[in-house]
Amino acid sequence: MYQEKERPLWQNVLLSCSGILVFLAIWQCVVSFGIVSTDKLVAPYTLCMTFIDKLNNVVPDGNTILVHIATSLKLVLAGFALSCVIGVPLGVCMGFFKTFKALFSPIFEIVKPIPPLAWIPIVIVVFGIGMKSELFIIFVAAFVPCVINSYTGIQSTDPALLNVAKTAGASRWQMFFKVGVPSALPMVFVGIKVSFGSAWATLVAAEMIASSVGLGYMIQQGRQASRPDIVLLGMLVIGIIGGVLTGLLGLLETKVIPWERH
């Protein structure tokens, strides 16, 4: 009913491109014809120029854009990796072993609804302003979806499969590693993707509030210097990097769990 009509590939590509092109054209026109003043919005063309300029220019935020990108990436990957390494095993164990669940789920339920940024004042007191604080906040942001999805994933393991394993004489550990964990993997990956998005969003905010380098800091400085081109450039770069890395995670997913149809 709601399936797309069969079209040759070139028509599909053309349609997809036309959307983006029309969007860019309207954007360019709105600025060029002065409908929106350049203090508030800059044209896509100007944005390209700003990007090229920002490769070498350190005004107004003290670093070139490549330094900002590298700093943000390093932080987000470190915090994200840490939360996967701790969060996925915790979630999977909570879903499979009742003792684990009884011990950790109350703690988790307390921590879960706290917005990651609300930790900032506390971590600043504990760790001071700097890498450690930001790492902690990203970790907390990415940790929650990792745990929730791994937990749901292993809980929805087909009981028939577990019973087959039991009948075939598998031990509790074998059931956990050979049946439970593999069947939870698709959900684990959903969690990992969500938690990356959440880590990336939180990093930007953390950099806006308490940092002196990074993409979030760059757009915050851009706002203070009334440079909409810097702000928009930062937003676009943040969006593109976030999109590309999420795509890469999807690619990894197809490699790790080839049995799941995508």
């Binding site: 009913m1 709601y2 399936q3 797309e4 009509k5 349609l15 997809s16 491109c17 036309s18 959307g19 983006i20 969007f23 203090d39 508030k40 009742k98 003792t99 669940k101 009884a102 011990l103 950790f104 789920s105 109350p106 703690i107 307390i110 609804p113 706290i114 917005p115 940024l117 609300a118 930790w119 900032i120 004042p121 506390i122 600043i124 007191v125 504990v126 998005g197 990336w200 969003a201 939180t202 930007v204 905010a205 806006m208 509030i209 979030g216 757009i219 915050q220 706002r223 009334s226 909409p228 702000v231 928009l232 930062g234 937003m235 943040i238 969006g239 593109i240 976030g242 999109g243 999420t246």
Partner: protein, 268 residues
Amino acid sequence: MGETLEMTGGKMSRKYRYSILSVISVICVFGLWWAASVWNTNLAGPIDTAGRFIRLVENPIMGVPLWMHVWASVRRILVSFVLACIVGVSLGVAFGIFPTFKRIMWPVFSLIRPIPPLAWIPIVVLWVGIVGDTSKDIIIFIGIVMAIVINTQAGIRQTDELLLKAGKLLGANKWQLLIDITLPSSIPAIFAGMKTGLSTGWMSLVAAEMIAAKEGIGFLINQSMKNSSDTALDFIGIILVALCSAAFTLLLNAIERKVCLWSKMRTK
């Protein structure tokens, strides 16, 4: 017989043991919090936080009582949430039922979607100014709307073909198919999107209020950073946000149960 009895007895005591474990772990959290506050004297402990709460109620910051801050935040969430539901569901339905529209507009949507709501703050402030509620409402709206759009269009595309064919066979027109089959069957997915959106919304709210606001829970949290690290105030803010967002989730769950009785079955 003896065996079954033993088993139920074992289960009972096991259940008992699990609840004891849970109680212990909650006590441990508070114990750790207290220990951390003793170890680092700048950090407020549970008792300091309770004391600070009483003082906050007696002497509000800048004369704005506590409930006004909570109401300011709740009001922002409500306004943005209602707007995001209207826009998000309409856009999601359009993406779902018009594949050609999706083919053209999805790339634009995919370009905008990965930009975190908080990264919009500087540009929104440039556009509508820092004063007033508009800037915060827009940020929260962006935070909520994305999840609703994605879930709505996914829900519509997952409509059971068989049901649609049956409807067609019985002579339903396109409009009836949409209203009577497609939309009801995507309600669970839409609600899931609303819940995801709401948690992003609360997160965006705190950030937006921390960066630019004169009242609200995020403002309290930001004040705690300014006033020589008044961490007790931050803990109060954290607890308030957690309670509010939990209340909203419970409310949504209750509405979902009323609106679609079958969703419980499907999620299980």
